[in-house]
Amino acid sequence: MASVEITGLAKRFGAVEVIRGLDLSVADGSFCALLGPSGCGKSTMLRMIAGLESVSEGTIRIGAREVTHLEPAKRGVAMVFQNYALYPHLTVAQNITFSMSLAGESKAKQAEAAARVAKTLQLETLLDRRPAALSGGQRQRVAIGRALVRDPQVFLFDEPLSNLDALLRGQMRLELARLHADLGRTMVYVTHDQVEAMTLADKIVVLDKGKISQMGAPLDLYNAPANRFVAGFIGSPAMNFLHARALSTAQGLEVTLGGATLTLPARAIPAGEHPVDLGVRPEDIRLTNAGEGKLSGRIAVVEALGNTTFIHVDTDRGQVNVQTDAALRLEVGGTVGLAFDLTKVHVFDATGLSLPKV
């Protein structure tokens, strides 16, 4: 068991800086998700922790040891790759015990370890098969088994569920959560899927252009995003953004949204009127009769999911996505009004930073 401490980490490819002076602390036994869009540097960061990518600047500590320039096999980490990287010429058992075989462990020990890992991952009946004869989910379990057999201090996952279909992804998410609960090991998990990050991690690190945009517990990021980037990235479907103008008054923050005026709880904002973006999640908007509410518009799309319905409304401030009761029957083309839960409206200044309540 070990924590991961990253200090001042930077990675440059020639003149291009993909990771910039990054500090991160992953507590012992924590499940930390590195979340961000393609090209944000999350995989590079994971590969630097693994030792597969050299570090341009900064230090990495795993437990009590500094491992910044240590070779991968000596870091006490194991990695699960997106494409599984299972050797096609080896059986499941041989794939799982490949590291032991390289280290010259006896066949008996290897067989024992393969059986133990197979039991944990329900692979007992597949040990003699080759990867080509396995389904995607089974392959992913073998890849996890290969990491498990090394008994690492830290598990690293590089988008491990990306190649699976939606149903299997859901199942594997549960299995990974169970595995983390059973093992209690530190896990660092790279993903661009915020659902995976929200459901698996106890700490999410949102990366944007090689820098940490925000980190914290999943619900903290959901409820109090530090900036527009995080607000837009966390939450599915995404938060709605509406351009408005804001003025701090004695009653609170007075926001002009088209023809309507909203009075929100006071925010730390300089005196005078300023352009802002309001951020409202679909579940914090209520449909009203046309002419009521703060905005009105025409229904463009109705997405009925069974348990809930999303209504996309075209307004003069842009399209707004509203989550409604599944029982509500609405027709495309109808006109509706929109009312906001004012306590849950986020306000971002012109630079994209969230304006905190005062």
Binding site: P72, A85, S101
Partner: protein, 281 residues
Amino acid sequence: MSGISPPARRFDLGSALLTLLTIIAALIWFFPVYWGIVTSLRYDDQTVKDFALIPMDPTLKNYIFDIENSNLPIWYLNSTIVSVGVTFLVVFMGATTGFAISQLNFPGRKALWWMILASFMVPVSALIVNHFIIIADMKLLNTHIGIILPMLIAPVTVIVYKQFFDGLPKEFREAAVMDGAKEYQLFFRVFLPMNWGVTTALAIITFIGAWNSFLWPFLAAQDEMMMTVTVGITAVQDTFGVAYGRVLAGAVLAGLPVATAYLLFQRRVTQAITLSAGIKG
């Protein structure tokens, strides 16, 4: 009885003509080979009289004569030593060089790669005099090593291996490195075994090429006891004059191992030709 029957095959004139042309071309190609085999089964006095497709009075006399009156068994042994040696060394060196150029970072890597590519521009026949002088200077004429050494120049093998190793996802290497694999373990336990199909195909085609090679073994082996089969049968011709039956029996014996190898590993040979297609030009 199920109600589903396979769709009726429609007669296609184009396909039929193409098939007919292919059969004719195959017959034209095969006839000399067939005629050679048939002639080798005839008595000498019959070779210019009996023109039947199937010999009237077939005999193995020519084969027995060749085996008893020439050094054919020794030539076979020499061919085997040379072909197996060339095959093993070409494949091993091709694989290791391909691995190094594809997977390792070392000074001069690109220069080495360009040199290997450039070596295509020089035909082997243009180097044969140089080879002869060098091998003679090294006192290696009439030795197995002397015959083998110049035959090890096989850039196509390096290129095929490099291309194959380049095409493997980098995660295979990284996963093995995470597991503690050293370079030699990466090569022998990951890259080469993932590649047995290519290795087998290249080995077979190299073996066939080495067995069939004539010009260099002809120059390097002047001593009859060091000759390979392909060189040796020319000696049979010289010895037996125009004894067609005996000459052709020698030719059949010389080509037998290669033909057998081809028949056994047809699919692999085709694969090797496909792999090196566009490289050899």
